[in-house]
Every structure is written in structure tokens, then in C-alpha cells.
Symmetry: C2
Subunit: 352 residues, 2 copies
DNA sequence: CTTTTTATGAGGTACGTGCCTCATTTTGCT
DNA sequence: AGCAAAATGAGGCACGTACCTCATAAAAAG
């Protein structure tokens, strides 16, 4: 049997009450006594029984994901992972909800955030474009006692500890490297398509992309970023325009998580395999594009992992606990046809 | 507050005792009553409080990883993840140990397995080369009440549900695809190095590798697999011999998890970048090889994830629970310089 | 209808920890 | 030394579930 607080009390030569005071950082214990207890903990290998502690505290964690309203496939995927995780963690007293926020107006987002209060929600995972209003609201929210982590797209001057997502500069660099290698020294231009270049993540990806391309692939010239603004017909227009005006486009980097419009636009003008194409995030559309050879590789972050990592972070924050950094680093996945997860998992891609 | 068994009893119009009987599948309840309780569960959204249940049962899970004795870097990594996971899960009543088995003799492995009994260990994760003796021992162990999952290298005629690891055929195919694309249509031969071809995983990797190469890259000819048998000087000899006898080797696929010897052998005869090289598993050696451009990409399975997935599986088995298949699929990771996890995480690579 | 069998109810104890109160001891201070 | 303040001990209740016993009610069998 594992040692309990009772054993610990005996080993430390103190009473249960004192053990309790030490374990829960309550005041009124001499340093000497604290030390004695801690030594006893080491000695007998005491580990607090989390189940019992949670039960005793009858603690609930109420977390909420604040996601953009737009109906992009990646966001839908994320939503599914959220409710999946909710179901999975309900038995441990963790409730996970999600709320949509329109992304247009930073003030609106800030107002929405400030409506939240610690007696209704213990922590949020926020996915919102970078803006001073949002950042300030997040800080104020923390001060009120609602934990905040930033999901996927971060805010300025935010600590690494608050961020759950991939290193976007590295992701852009990865894209450039893959294009550079796949293109096999051919001369030509690379089209870069994004939803918007106002977001921090897009800028970082572009930065990493350019860096690698400039440094190692003088044969490739990256065109200025095209912005679709999430509009299918606009996407169609600007992509086709670019192809028309640049006969020597030999690769494309589709930077934003909504790859549908750019892919569709490319699809109607080029044959699969004609261009080297890299897209982001695994969705039904990008998956089938990969299988059709419309795209050569996908750079992905795992939505299930994003959700679980956010929850672990929020929970650790609520308990004022340290976390295992190494477990929370979100990896930049490279997916090609061969290492794609088999079909049965298509809908529930969340391996981790 | 979430509903408790008490609320459930009230909602179902039965007593606590009956609720308990239904929840824990105890006999002596009419079908009609069972149905009523189950309907009440649905209606009020009852979810059993796992913390309380575990506490009440004062249940412990004792799991053991059975690993090969050989000291390869990947195995060391695995061992570290195991003790890390042990520390992390101790609070939840899960004890994880590991035991080394010499791999030479299947009979010895089988005997070691059969020594285990359900009153000392609840489940094992077994990593052992394929053999009828081992397979039979595993089956008998299960019958005795010790849960078994197969780690990394599976056994013949084993269900998918019992396996934790990557799809090795797909991994080999991935390697071939990367080599094929990176080589840019050049003509030449591909060296394939393995520790041994007696293991199921090596055979499967080779199979996937050949399939893709044959189908899509007629410019590449794969040489017969070289077997190092884990011997540094032998590795040196056969690799150099092969290079000498085949002037047109332009790529290498290092198939086994111990990449040190083959890499060292290659290193002393070729310049970084001269060959396209793909290796398996992220270790200190392969990491630095990637950074030095000694290798072009690493195909990896995440050791931390392997361990956690095994534990989740074993635990679910002990509780006779269903698992989320999608969460347990181990991904085949492709690592290049750009998407490598930063240095700080080198020692504790286990993102997930 | 009675008897036997089967279902259900009532109630208790246990699990390990958190959190509270109140009494008692020890410490530091003058 | 005497006193206030601080530290510690003793004990109890709570959390939600598991698992037990014993009594009683309902159903099935005769």
C-alpha cells in the first residue's frame, strides 16, 4: 500500500493536522517542522492521492474555449475535439465548453472576455487575432482570477507559458524547406496564399518561410502574400490572376488553416503534381488533396493535442502546479500520403 | 453540482443499493429496473465520479514494461519516459516499473513472462522479437489475468487492439517517398541498413519501402538489406564494403532504431549531404546528425506517447473499458531540421 | 393460499484528503 | 518568571462511490 497522510504524520513525528498544514501551505508552522515533514515525504515516498484530494475538495474545473465564429474546417475539427475531451474528462470533474466570438472587432472580443467571471468559469483558452484590446482584456481577466491561455495565435508580449500552439516561424521554415527540396533546383516563383496578413501567425510563418527560401534556395522567388479574406470568389480571382501574370509559378504555399478556397482555385487551373503545393492543417479537404496529389505535404498541428494541452495547462494553473513543459510542446507535423493516418481515423484525427 | 448516485436513485425511483447494483453489474436486478436506472442516467446526465470510485476501490494499477536489455539510445529514451510517466501517474494510483529481458532466447523470454502473476502485476507492455514461444506465453499470461499489450514490435496473429506502435509498412513507405523526392530523379542505388532482418518490424519496413520505390522511382535501385547485428565494427565493415562495391550509391535508409553505428560508418566515408539519408527515431545521435546534415530526415515515433498510450490501453483493459482508438494511433513523424523541437527539449523529447 | 425464490431497501463502514474548531503545548518576549 | 503569541494536537465532518449485511417486499412457484 502506498503511504497516506497518516503514515506521513507518523514518520515525521507530527500530527495529521500539521501534515495537512504543510501539504496545503497553510500558515502557522515553524520552518523546522515544515522541513521535517518534507524530509519525511522524501523518505517514505509519500505522494498525495489526487483522487482523494479532488473528492475532498469536490473541486470542479470549468474551462471554456473561445473560438472564432468562422466555419473553417480546422475550427470544426477543433470543436469536435473539444466536446470529445469534455466527454472524456467529465468523470474527473472537468467541464469544457466552447463559445464563439466574432473576430471582426477587437473591442467586442474584449467586452466578451470581460463579461466572464471566476464564479462562472475557471479558465479559458482564447483564440483571437492579436490586438492590444484583447491582450489587455486577457490580463485583466487573469487578475480577476480567470486563467487564460492563448491558443494557436498568440498575443504580443505574451509569455511562452501562456501559449498553446506551434512555433509559426518554424512552421513557415518547414514549408520552405519542403518546397525547396521537392522542387529539385528548378527556377521559378512561389505563390504564397493567406487568409489575412494581419494575424501574428501568418506574419511569423511568412517570416520563417522567406528566411529559409532566401538562404538556401536562390532558384526560388517568393511572390507577395495573397490575401483571400476568407472569400471564395476573391480567392479564385487573385490566385488565377497571379498564375496568369506569372507563367513561371512552380510552387505554392497555402499558409492559412482555411485551405479550401485556394486549393479549389488552384485545382481548376493546374493539374495535380504540376506545382509543388504545401498547405496547413489536416482537414477533409487537405486530406483528399494530399491523396489526389493536389498538395505534396501538409504541415499540421494536432487539434486533439491542442485541446488537451490547453486543458492540462489551465488545470495546472488552477492548482498552482508546475507543468511538464516537454509534454506540452506542440509538434509541427509533416504529413505526406504515406504517413497519413488511415481512413477510419479521418473523422477523428487526434492521435495523441 | 453534478448529479451523484443519490440523485440518480431518486430520479430512477429506486434505492441507492439498487443503483449500485446496476452501476457495477451486480446480479439480482430485474431487467425492467436496470432499464429504469439507465434511463435515469441518460435523463439527468449522471457520470460516475472516477475520483470517488477509485478512492473507494482503493484500486492500484501495477504495470510493467518489458524491454530489451540492449542499450540503444531509443530504448534509453523509452526508459526515461517510463519513469517520467510513473512519477506523473503515481498520484492516480498507477505504478509503472520496467524490467529488462535479454532478447537472445525466445524460451527465456517466455519463461520470464510466465513467472509474472496477477497478484504482483496487473499488466505488461511487452517489447520482444516475434516468436511463437513469446506469443503463446503472452496468451497464457492474459488467461491468467495479466493484461498484455505489444510494444513497437508485434507478434504474429495479434489483434490490432493489442499493439502500440507505428504501422511499420507505412513507415518504410514514408522513407522511400522522402528519398524518392529528395533525390530529384537521379539514377543510383539505395543502401538499406538494419540491425537484423529477423524482426517483424524490419521486414515490414522493408516491404513498404520496396513497394513505393518500385512503383514510383525506377531510377532508384534498393540494395539488399545489410544487417549490423548491433556490432559497431561489423557495421563499419559492411557499410564501407557496400560503398566500395557500388560507386553509385546515392541514398541510404537506416531502418533500425539503433542508428549510431551505420551513421558513424557513413560519416567517415562520405561528406554530409553527399547522400540522401533517412534514419529512424529521434535520439541525441540522430538529432545531431540531422543538424549536421548527415541525415536528411528522421522518421520517428514518439517514445513518450508510446508509453502513455500503452498505459491508457492497459488501464482500460483492467477496467474492462472501451478506449478511444483515435487517440491511441501512434503517428509516424517526419522530422527535418526546421520542425525539430528546440534544444531545451532535446533531453525530454516527448511532446504529447 | 402458502412457500420459496428473487428483488429491493435501509443502513453502515471504508477509502484518503481537505478543512474546520477547540484545547493544549511550546516558543519568544519583557 | 510570567505572559502573550505562535505552533501543534485531537477530533470530527464532508466528498461520492464501493461493498457489505440484514431485513423486508415483491414475484414466482407449488
Amino acid at each position: 500500500m502506498r503511504p497516506t497522510t497518516k503514515d506521513l504524520a507518523k514518520a515525521a513525528g507530527v500530527s495529521l493536522a500539521t501534515v495537512d498544514r504543510v501539504l496545503n501551505n497553510r500558515p502557522g508552522v515553524r520552518k523546522k517542522t515544515v522541513k521535517a515533514v518534507n524530509e519525511a515525504i522524501e523518505k517514505i515516498g509519500f505522494v498525495r492521492n489526487l483522487s482523494a484530494a479532488n473528492l475532498a475538495k469536490s473541486k470542479r474545473y470549468r474551462f471554456r474555449f473561445m473560438l472564432p465564429r468562422r466555419g473553417d474546417l480546422f475550427i470544426s475539427e477543433l470543436r469536435e475535439r473539444i466536446s470529445e475531451t469534455d466527454r472524456g474528462l467529465a468523470a474527473e470533474g472537468i467541464e469544457i465548453s466552447h463559445q464563439e466570438i466574432s473576430q471582426a472587432d477587437p473591442h467586442l472580443i474584449a467586452r466578451t472576455l470581460l463579461k466572464l467571471s471566476p464564479d462562472k468559469v475557471d479558465g479559458i483558452a482564447l483564440m483571437a487575432p492579436e490586438s492590444p484590446q484583447v491582450r489587455d482584456a486577457a490580463i485583466r481577466l487573469q487578475e480577476k482570477g480567470v486563467q487564460v491561455v492563448h491558443l494557436i495565435s498568440g498575443q504580443l508580449e505574451m509569455s511562452d507559458m501562456d501559449f498553446v500552439g506551434i512555433d509559426n516561424r518554424a512552421a513557415g521554415a518547414t514549408a520552405a524547406r519542403l518546397i525547396g527540396r521537392f522542387i529539385c533546383g528548378q527556377q521559378g516563383k512561389v505563390m504564397v496564399v493567406s487568409e489575412t496578413m494581419n494575424a501574428r501567425d501568418s506574419l511569423e510563418r511568412r517570416h520563417g518561410f522567406d528566411q529559409v527560401l532566401r538562404q538556401d534556395y536562390p532558384n526560388l522567388i517568393a511572390l507577395p502574400s495573397l490575401e483571400t479574406h476568407g472569400d471564395q470568389s476573391r480567392a479564385q480571382e487573385i490566385v488565377l490572376n497571379t498564375l496568369r501574370n506569372n507563367q513561371d509559378v512552380i510552387a505554392a504555399y497555402i499558409m492559412s488553416s482555411e485551405a479550401r478556397s485556394p486549393l479549389n482555385a488552384l485545382h481548376c487551373r493546374t493539374d495535380p503534381g504540376e506545382l509543388v503545393v504545401i498547405a496547413h492543417e489536416l482537414t477533409e479537404r487537405t486530406r483528399s488533396a494530399l491523396l489526389n496529389k493536389e498538395v505534396d505535404a501538409i504541415i499540421a498541428q494536432n487539434p486533439g493535442h491542442l485541446v488537451r494541452s490547453s486543458v492540462r495547462l489551465l488545470r495546472a494553473r488552477c492548482d498552482n502546479r508546475e507543468i511538464m513543459q516537454s509534454q506540452e510542446q506542440i509538434r509541427i507535423e509533416i504529413l505526406i500520403q504515406e504517413n497519413l493516418i488511415p481512413d477510419g481515423f479521418a473523422a477523428s484525427y487526434s492521435a495523441q
